[in-house]
Every structure is written in structure tokens, then in C-alpha cells.
Amino acid sequence: MTTLDLVMALVVGGLFAAGFYLLLDRSLMRVLLGVIVLGHAANLLLLLTGGPPGMPPVVAEGDDTERYADPLPQAMALTAIVITFGITTLLLALVHRAWQLDGHDEVRDDVEDRRIGTVEDREESGPPLPTDRDHEPGGGSGR
């Protein structure tokens, strides 16, 4: 019946924890590494929940189908690996571009985002406040 593999569960948990930790960072590069690690974690989780390990699902005459590992999660994970590769390169290009344009690859607070909450105050006090953006070195204003 179903058996729990302690080592694998531990590895999956560790991968997710490390991935989330990196994802919460302010350095884009670390965020990217977090995405990669989370990709590994998700693939392994998919495989783990797909059933117990078995023989590689390459069919040969006279084999008992129940001894094979489930091919469906494998095919899905394979797709996921390739997609993760694509996303990784795209994010890496973004990191490179951010560095090229701003001189850093840091996720800074979005000032615009924060100003939405003060819309009422601004309406009551008349003309809009000057933007804070101009004071931020290399801030991501349009170019």
C-alpha cells in the first residue's frame, strides 16, 4: 500500500523552505535562485505524490505493469523542467538588464504603490504631492 519515504519528504520540505527564503530577498539574483530551487522542489513533489518508485516505465514484453513507476507525473515534471529553464533564462536576462540600466539588481519599494493609499488625503488637500521618485538614485522612472 502507500508508504511514506521520510528522506524524500525531508528533502522536498528543505527545498521549498530554501526556495521561499530566497524568494523573500530583495536581491533579484537571489529571487531568481529561489525560483530555480522552487522549480526543483515542485518537480520532486510531483514525482513523490505520484506514487512509490518503481522500474523506469519503458515497456518490455511480459513485464508486469504494476512494477513501473507512474509515467504521468514524470511527463509533467519533464515539461516543468524545460519551462523552468526557459523562465530562468528570461529572469536572468531581466536581472542583467536591471543591472545594466539601474546599476543594481535590487527590488526596491514601489513608491507609486504606496501612494495609492493616500489618494483620499491628496484629494482633500488639493494639488497632488510632488513625486518622491526624483529623489531616488537610479529609480526606475521611464526613459
Binding site: M1, T2, T3, D5, V7, M8, A9, L10, V11, V12, G13, L15, F16, A17, A18, Y21, L22, L24, D25, R26, S27, M29, L33, V37, L45, L48, M55, P56, P57, V58, V59, T65, Y68, P71, L72, Q74, A75, A77, L78, I81, V82, I83, F85, G86, T88, T89, A93, H96, Q100, L101, D102, G103, D109, D110, D113, G117, V119, E120, G138, R143
Partner: protein, 953 residues
């Protein structure tokens, strides 16, 4: 019915064009469709009243069971007369009042059509659609084209109130339809549901009707909407749109009158609205607002009468509905004429208008008398029946209803008198008003509408014929064994005495208006529904701003933390509260897991504390290889192979990009408190997922599908089940996946500075070049061209002889391996992905050797052609079966007899896999080339903040 509806829409579409050319004729044309509707209704009247209802069905999505059902029964017939008859007259009036207003003409006509649809719809959802369309058109008509902010505010209020009610009503409709098993109104009425959630459905539907018909506490929008042009007010906000709520109540009362809150709510809300709004009307000086409050009051009465659920009250309600449509629209139009000729509608500035405009004064007085309920007008018929119906009401609380009705009609008489006095009487102390001439084109629609009152009242037999069939619906109660007959004289009865008393008292109240006004000033102010609306809107705005300010802090880590905490709290909490049946626990399935697990976990530990970018990238590579090993242990060699290849390629690309970035992370490390919080959240979330993995394992899974896949894999020609899944069972997924891959590569390429110009894609040296000449013709075994010409261009100290030699030996071998993997995929681990990645790595090797001159790949075609060709091939293979009458992605196999080699079995999905191979190879080449470009570009690009200000644009 559908044709009539379409006629309205088509004519409306041409009106703006027509109005620009023929300002008045456009309105006459606009009146044609409603007139056609009236004529059509007249044609069918006797048949419908004899019980032969007209049905029409348009099945517009039969597969989804979506149909539009229209039905003409006696109640719909009555409503068609009201909406189309009044509509036609109002449109004709507009020819003089608003000549050339194409937008208004089109909208009013469209409104007439939508209203026609609403009253003939026999299906709840279609009714809802028409219902909301009237709200939208009302919004457009109130807001005008470019009027002031009060117009916009009023329009917004009308839309918000009626649409919010409409949403509640939709929910009610769905509940009702689910409870009854049908959305057809006629079936619902014939076999009404009861029990379950019917009471909730009834309550929600009433909310929608109350909002639409401006009942307290939703009444504020109707007086506010009076900023619209007078004909719009006359039609939408007196005769038609606000009647939609009344109509809905009338339509569903036979089915729902006995359901929980229906009758008490209808009577309480309706009669309260009637009294309160009439009291408000009494103190208005603006004639238009006076009759607007009067409308709210009358609507309350109609809701109460038609929702009470007895035969007599239904008769009264129908008569009053007819009467109200005629007299109220004529009064509104009268106000329009008064305003147009005198320039004001303030009754404190009007005096002696009646003497100057006698025809108008007579018509308006007849209408007002009908409103007050004087004999022999139709308003009197209705009021008599109303008193009688409530007097003999077969339900508790009839006394209260009679009292409310009496008080309401007293006030109605008073404000009717106030209207006639205010508009036409000579008032001492106010200078005589000098109205200009009133065009006949404005007067005759008013006279016609006013004439309806005496005609319908005196010819009461005809009125009775029209209203009785609905009142005889089986769902309505017949009070105390007597069938009320519609006529003018019933003898001296209690209702008659009550009615006369109220008329007298009402006239007294009007005469005593000055003392009453003084008393009223001293009375506490009643709660105002406008203030309620303002407070609600302001409260919602304020709450939204407060919420935004406290949640929208602009910090990405903060948002992610909130998301993760939610994941831990909600799904995680649910998991914890439903612990799985613990499966049999084993430490490991295979001993190999232990070292691999240790590698992965320790690399992860290093990764989270690493401060050096390169270290971190190498550690993430180690994690990837470790995970690939775990895949192998789990019995997934295909996954492991792909993971190994991808990991290698990722590592190379990372290192190439990292050379341009600072060696340490920025910011190097967060504050220790932030780190602890992050670590806590990450560990909790990781633990949560691990626990989920345990639960999912314990839940087990049905292997039926997977077994089928394994069993049937050989049918696809692929004995490797994973490969069979990718190229056959789930080939559509694969097609999508390679498209995504191509898109990301294009994105990464453009971001890295790849400029796809043919000029920048040099091919290998041609025969004419110096390098080629140097080698030619020396000996047959000496190469005709130099191997790796790009390497020759490097400075000698940058070259690595060992690498060059190894690459020279490996390159063709690796390419052969990649092709082998491509074709072996059907029988062993491998396939298009693995093959393409291996081929890509062969080129990566050459890139590493050539370095600065790597752009000189001796390739005859560009990477994008390779990648795009791959995608095109895969798509072609997917679509080709269509040409043979097969479903897309069908794969066929056939045997080829090749001389000497023997039989060869070919499955078409091999070509699909070949497309995948080419695409992956093309993507790899594209990325490599983009990297080369990025490095060249990087030397000239100055970071943004270092550039002089003028260059930043």
C-alpha cells in the same frame, strides 16, 4: 415579438444619423416602432384576453440550453400598452421639445425596445438582462453628453442603486430557478416552489424590485434623477423603467405571495413609501420634484396593491398602473411645457399661467384629478378597488393596510391640489407670469394622455376586460367569497365613504397649507434616504482607502510574506485539522537517497548564506544535480537525463552573465530581524508543503489511468511510456510548452541585447578567404578549411590548446549522440528534449573555445530559423492528420520496405519529436548568440545613473 424588438434596435441605430439631417422627422421615425408595438398588441388583444397566450422562442445556444423565451399574456399585454403607448407619445412630444437630439432619440427608442423585451420575457435570466439594460440606458440618459457634475452624480446614484438591487435579484432568480428546476416564469407561476431557500430568493428579488421602483430606503435616486430632460423623466422615471419593479412584483406574486416575507414586506415597504414620499411631495416648490416624490409615493402604493396577493387588490393595482402611466407622464410633460414657456418650474414664481394656457391647464387638471382619485376617472376606479380589496383582505393586518392607504390617498389629494394650484393658479403677491406661446405639437400628446383618464374611467367595461384575466390567476386569493366587479357605482359602501372623506380632508389640508407648513417646520426631520446613500458611498470609499493604505506598502517581500503566511494558515491549517491516515513510514526506499539527500540539503544550506554570486550559482547547480540523482532513484531516468542537461546549460549561461555583474549580492544581507522573520515564514511554508507531501502520499492515488498509459504506450510506437506521453498522449501540452520555450528565448534574447540582423551572423570562411587559401590543395588529408577559425582570432594567451583539441574531437561525436538520443527516445530514455539539449551543448563547447570570436559559428542558417522551423515542423505534424480526415495530433505508423536494409517501421510522431529537437537546439543557439551580443554591448553601455542627465531620455 423578436422582430419588434429588432425593429426598435435597428431604427435606433440610424437615428443619430437621421437627426443630424432632419431634426424633427427623426423623432417621428423614432415613434414608429413603439406605435407598431401598440398596433401589434391591439391586433392580439382579444385572443390574449381569451386565454390564448402568444409564445416565441429563440434558441441561440442550444448546446448550452440557452434560449430566449418571449410570451404575451394579459399582464404583459397591459404593460406593452403602457410602455409602447406612452413611449410613442413621449417620442412625438420630443419632436418639438428636443429637436435634433439624435443621441437622446436613439437611447429613448432603444429603451422602449428593451422595456418591450422586459415585459414580454418569459425567462428569468433574459428578464434580468433586459432589466440591467434599462439601468444602463437610464444612466446614459441622466448623465447626458457633457453636462455638469450633478448630472453625473445623479446618473451614478441611479445606476449604483438599481444595479446593486439587480445583482441581489439575479442571485434570487438563480436560487428560485434552482429550487423550482426551471427558469421559465410561466412554469414557475403554474407550479410555484416552496420550502428550501425560496424565502431567501423571494427576499432578494424584492430587494431588486424595491431598488428599481425607488422604494424606501432606496428611494433617493429617483428625485435625484430629475436633472434629466423632462421627457426622459416622463418616460423612464414615471411611466416605464420604475414600473419594472412593480411589474416584477405583479408577475411573481401569484407564485410567491405565500412565501415567508413576501406579503408583509411588500405591504410595509409599499405603504410606508406611499405615505412618506407623499408627505415630502407636499413641501416641494419645484413642480418637477413635487411630482417626482408623487411618483415614488404612487409606486409604493402599486407595489403594495400588486404584492398583496388578492384578486381585488390585483385589479386595483392594474387599474392604478394604467392610470398612473397616463396621468403621471402627462403631468411631467406639462411641467416641460410650463418650463419651456415661462422659463421656470418654481411654483413660488408662477402665477396665472392657467389663464394664458387654458388647454394645458384643463388637461393637467384632469390628470391631477385622476391622480387624486376623483370620479369618473380611472384613478377613482383604482382607488375604490384598492380600498375594497384591503377592507375585505383575507389576511391579518388588513386594518393597518387600510389606514396606510387612507393616509396616503389623503396626502395624494393634497399634493395633486398643490400641483394644479402651483402651476396654474393666480397667486396674490406674485407678479403675473407671461408665458410664451405653446406649440400644438407639445400640447396634443399631453391631451391624449390626459384623455385616457376619463375614457378608461367611463368605459369601465373595457378596462375591466383588460385587467380581469390577470386578477383571475389561480395564485391570487379571492377575498370572502365575493367577486369584486369593476364599475363606477357600487352603492354607498364603506370604501366609498372612506374615499370621499379622504378627498375632503385632502382638500382641507391643501387649503390649510400655511399653518401645516408652520407645524411641519417644528417637527423633527425624518431620516433622509439621500443622506443614507451618501453615507454608504462615502463609507465604502473610506474603507477602501483605509484598506489600501494598510495593505499596499509597496514592498514585494512584504506581499510575498503575506501570501506565504496565508498558504500556511489556510490550506496548512485545513491539512492539520484533518490529519491523514498515517501511512507506513519507511526511512528510505533506496539507500542511495541518503547521500543524495545530504548533498541537496547541505548545498541548500550553503546557498541561503552565500554572499558571493558565483558561489551561489555553483551551489544551485549542485542542488540541481542532486535532485537529478533523486529522480533516477525514483525510477525516472528521462527526468534525470533532462535535468542533468538543463542544469549544465543553465550553469554555463549563468556564469557567462555573471561575469558582468558585481561579485557579491546587493544588498549583501538584510537586517537580522528581517532574516529571522523570513527564515520563520520560509520554514513554516516548507514544513507545510512537506506535510502536504505526506498527506498526499497517504491519500494514495488511482493508478488506473497510468496503467492504461503504460499498457497502451506500444500502440504509439513508443515503448518508453514517458516519451509516448510527450509526443502522443499529451502532445498538445508539448506543443504549448515548446511555444513557451521559444517565447522566453526571444524575450531573453531581446533583453540581453541580441540584434537580429543578418549582417551580424557571419558564416564560416568561404573559399576566397585568406585562411581557406592557405590550406587548399596541399594534401588530400589536410583539411580544406581551418577547424575552429574563430579560435585563431583570439590572442595566443587566451587560447587553451587542450580545450581546442578536446572540443575538436568531441563536437561531431556529441552531435551524433544527440541524434541517437532523439531516435532512441521511443525505446529508451531520451527523446527530442534530451537530444536538442545535447546538440545545444555541443555548440556551447565551441562557444567556450571561441570566446570573443564566437559569433563566427560556421552555421549556414540563423538560430531563429532553426527554432522557428522546429516549431513549424511540430505544428505541421500536429495539423497534418486533418488533411486525411483524422483529428489533429493523430499519429500513424507505416512500414517501409527499404532495399538491402529490410523493413523499417516509421511512426509519424517521430517527426513531432524532431520538431522539438530542432526547437530546443535553436533556442540554445539563440541564447548563446544573445550572450555574445550582451557582452559586446555591455562594454559600451553605461549604467543609467552614471550617464549625464541629458542622455537619459
Amino acid at each position: 415579438m423578436l422582430a419588434l424588438f429588432a425593429l426598435h434596435a435597428v431604427v435606433a441605430a440610424f437615428l443619430p444619423w437621421l437627426a443630424a439631417r432632419a431634426p424633427r422627422a427623426a423623432w417621428y421615425v423614432a415613434a414608429l416602432p413603439p406605435l407598431a408595438a401598440v398596433g401589434w398588441a391591439g391586433w392580439h388583444t382579444s385572443a390574449v384576453l381569451d386565454g390564448r397566450t402568444l409564445n416565441e422562442t429563440l434558441s441561440w445556444a442550444p448546446a448550452l440550453n440557452l434560449t430566449i423565451e418571449l410570451r404575451l399574456d394579459p399582464l404583459s399585454l397591459l404593460m406593452v400598452y403602457v410602455v409602447s403607448g406612452v413611449g410613442a407619445l413621449v417620442l412625438l412630444y420630443c419632436a418639438r421639445y428636443l429637436p435634433g437630439a439624435g443621441r437622446e432619440a436613439a437611447l429613448l427608442l432603444l429603451f422602449a425596445g428593451v422595456m418591450f423585451g422586459l415585459v414580454t420575457a418569459d425567462q428569468l435570466i433574459a428578464l434580468y438582462v433586459f432589466w440591467e439594460l434599462t439601468s444602463v440606458i437610464s444612466f446614459l440618459l441622466i448623465s447626458g453628453r457633457s453636462e455638469g457634475s450633478d448630472h453625473r452624480r445623479a446618473a451614478e446614484q441611479a445606476l449604483l442603486t438599481t444595479a446593486a438591487g439587480g445583482l441581489a435579484m439575479l442571485f434570487g432568480f438563480i436560487l428560485l430557478g434552482a429550487e423550482a428546476g426551471t427558469y421559465r416564469v410561466s412554469e414557475l407561476v403554474a407550479d410555484p416552489p416552496s420550502g428550501g431557500l425560496t424565502w431567501l430568493a423571494a427576499t432578494l428579488i424584492l430587494l431588486g424590485a424595491f431598488a428599481k421602483s425607488a422604494q424606501i430606503p432606496f428611494s433617493a435616486w429617483l428625485p435625484a434623477a430629475m436633472v434629466a430632460p423632462t421627457p426622459v423623466s416622463a418616460y423612464l422615471h414615471a411611466a416605464a423603467m420604475v414600473k419594472a419593479g412593480v411589474y416584477l412584483v405583479a408577475r411573481l406574486t401569484p407564485a410567491l405571495e405565500g412565501v415567508g416575507p413576501w406579503r408583509p414586506a411588500v405591504l410595509a415597504v409599499g405603504l410606508t413609501t406611499m405615505v412618506v414620499a407623499a408627505w415630502r411631495a407636499l413641501r416641494q416648490n419645484d413642480l418637477k420634484l413635487l411630482i417626482a416624490y408623487g411618483t415614488v409615493s404612487e409606486l409604493g402604493m402599486l407595489i403594495a396593491l400588486l404584492g398583496a396577493g388578492t384578486r381585488t387588490s390585483a385589479l386595483a393595482g392594474e387599474e392604478m398602473l394604467l392610470a398612473h402611466a397616463a396621468f403621471k407622464s402627462s403631468l411631467f410633460l406639462t411641467v416641460g411645457v410650463v418650463e419651456k414657456t415661462t422659463g421656470t418650474r418654481d411654483l413660488t414664481r408662477l402665477s396665472g399661467v392657467g389663464r394664458r394656457l387654458p388647454l394645458l391647464a384643463v388637461a393637467a387638471t384632469v390628470s391631477a384629478a385622476s391622480m387624486a382619485g376623483l370620479p369618473p376617472l380611472v384613478g377613482y376606479l383604482g382607488k375604490e378597488a384598492a380600498f375594497d380589496g384591503l377592507w375585505h383582505a383575507p389576511f391579518a393586518g388588513g386594518v393597518w393596510a387600510v389606514a396606510g392607504m387612507a393616509l396616503g390617498s389623503l396626502l395624494t389629494v393634497a399634493y395633486s391640489a398643490r400641483f394644479v394650484w402651483g402651476a396654474f393658479a393666480r397667486k396674490p403677491g406674485i407678479p403675473e407670469t407671461e408665458p410664451g406661446p405653446a406649440a400644438l405639437g407639445l400640447l396634443w400628446p399631453i391631451c391624449l394622455l390626459a384623455a385616457a383618464a376619463p375614457v378608461l374611467g367611463v368605459w369601465y367595461a373595457g378596462t375591466a376586460r383588460l385587467v380581469e384575466p390577470y386578477a383571475d390567476t389561480p395564485g391570487l386569493m379571492v377575498g370572502e367569497g365575493h367577486a369584486y366587479a369593476v364599475k363606477l357605482w357600487h352603492g354607498v359602501t364603506a370604501p366609498l365613504v372612506l374615499s370621499v372623506t379622504m378627498i375632503v380632508l385632502g382638500l382641507v389640508l391643501h387649503q390649510a397649507r400655511l399653518p401645516v407648513e408652520r407645524v411641519r417646520r417644528r417637527m423633527p426631520r425624518l431620516p433622509d434616504s439621500q443622506r443614507g446613500y451618501d453615507l454608504t458611498v462615502h463609507g465604502v470609499d473610506h474603507a477602501a482607502t483605509w484598506l489600501t493604505r494598510h495593505t499596499q506598502v509597496g514592498s514585494l517581500p512584504f506581499y510575498l510574506t503575506v501570501l506565504l503566511v496565508t498558504v500556511v494558515a489556510v490550506p496548512g491549517g485545513t491539512l492539520l485539522s484533518h490529519p491523514p491516515d498515517w501511512p507506513e513510514v519507511v526511512g528510505w526506499h533506496s539507500l542511495m537517497e541518503l547521500p543524495l539527500g545530504v548533498v541537496v540539503l547541505s548545498a541548500l544550506g550553503g546557498l541561503v548564506v552565500a554572499r558571493h554570486r558565483l558561489t551561489a550559482v555553483l551551489l544551485v547547480g549542485a542542488v540541481g544535480y542532486g535532485v537529478a540523482g533523486l529522480f533516477l532513484v525514483q525510477g525516472a531516468p528521462d527526468l534525470a537525463l533532462t535535468q542533468f542537461l538543463v542544469e549544465t546549460l543553465t550553469l554555463v549561461i549563468f556564469v557567462l552573465v555573471l561575469r558582468r555583474l558585481p561579485s557579491n549580492f546587493t544588498p549583501e544581507r538584510p537586517s537580522s530581524r528581517g532574516r529571522l522573520l523570513r527564515a520563520g515564514v520560509a520554514l513554516a511554508a516548507g514544513g507545510c508543503v512537506a506535510y502536504f507531501a505526506v498527506s498526499a502520499t497517504a491519500a494514495g492515488n488511482s493508478l488506473e489511468l497510468s496503467e492504461t498509459i503504460v499498457e497502451r504506450a506500444p500502440e504509439t510506437g513508443a515503448y518508453n511510456a514517458v516519451n509516448a506521453l510527450l509526443v502522443d498522449f499529451r502532445a498538445l501540452d508539448t506543443l504549448g510548452e515548446i511555444s513557451v520555450l521559444l517565447v522566453t528565448a526571444i524575450g531573453a534574447g531581446s533583453l540581453l541585447g541580441y540584434r537580429s540582423s543578418r549582417r551580424q551572423w557571419p558564416t564560416g570562411p568561404r573559399d576566397g578567404s585568406r585562411a581557406a587559401r592557405a590550406f587548399r590543395g596541399i594534401h588530400w588529408d589536410v583539411p580544406r578549411e581551418p577547424w575552429l577559425p574563430e579560435a585563431d582570432e583570439l590572442p595566443r594567451r587566451d587560447r587553451s590548446l587542450l580545450l581546442e583539441v578536446v572540443v575538436r574531437a568531441l563536437f561531431p561525436a556529441v552531435l551524433v549522440l544527440s541524434v541517437y538520443l532523439l531516435f532512441a527516445g521511443h525505446y529508451r530514455p531520451g527523446g527530442g528534449f534530451a537530444g536538442g539539449l545535447v546538440a545545444g551543448q555541443a555548440f556551447t563547447l565551441r562557444y567556450l573555445v571561441g570566446r570573443r570570436a564566437e559569433a563566427a559559428f560556421p552555421l549556414p542558417i540563423t538560430p531563429r530559423a532553426v527554432a522557428g522551423g522546429g516549431l513549424a515542423l511540430a505544428a505541421l505534424v500536429a495539423l497534418a492528420p486533418l488533411a486525411f480526415g483524422r483529428p489533429p495530433l493523430y499519429s500513424a505508423s507505416f512500414e517501409l520496405a527499404i532495399p538491402l536494409l529490410g523493413d523499417l517501421k516509421v511512426v509519424t510522431n517521430v517527426f513531432f519529436d524532431l520538431g522539438v529537437y530542432l526547437l530546443v537546439l535553436g533556442v540554445c543557439l539563440k541564447l548563446l548568440f544573445a550572450l555574445a551580443q550582451a557582452r559586446d554591448a555591455g562594454d559600451t553601455l553605461v549604467p543609467y545613473h552614471e550617464r549625464p542627465r541629458g542622455v537619459r531620455g
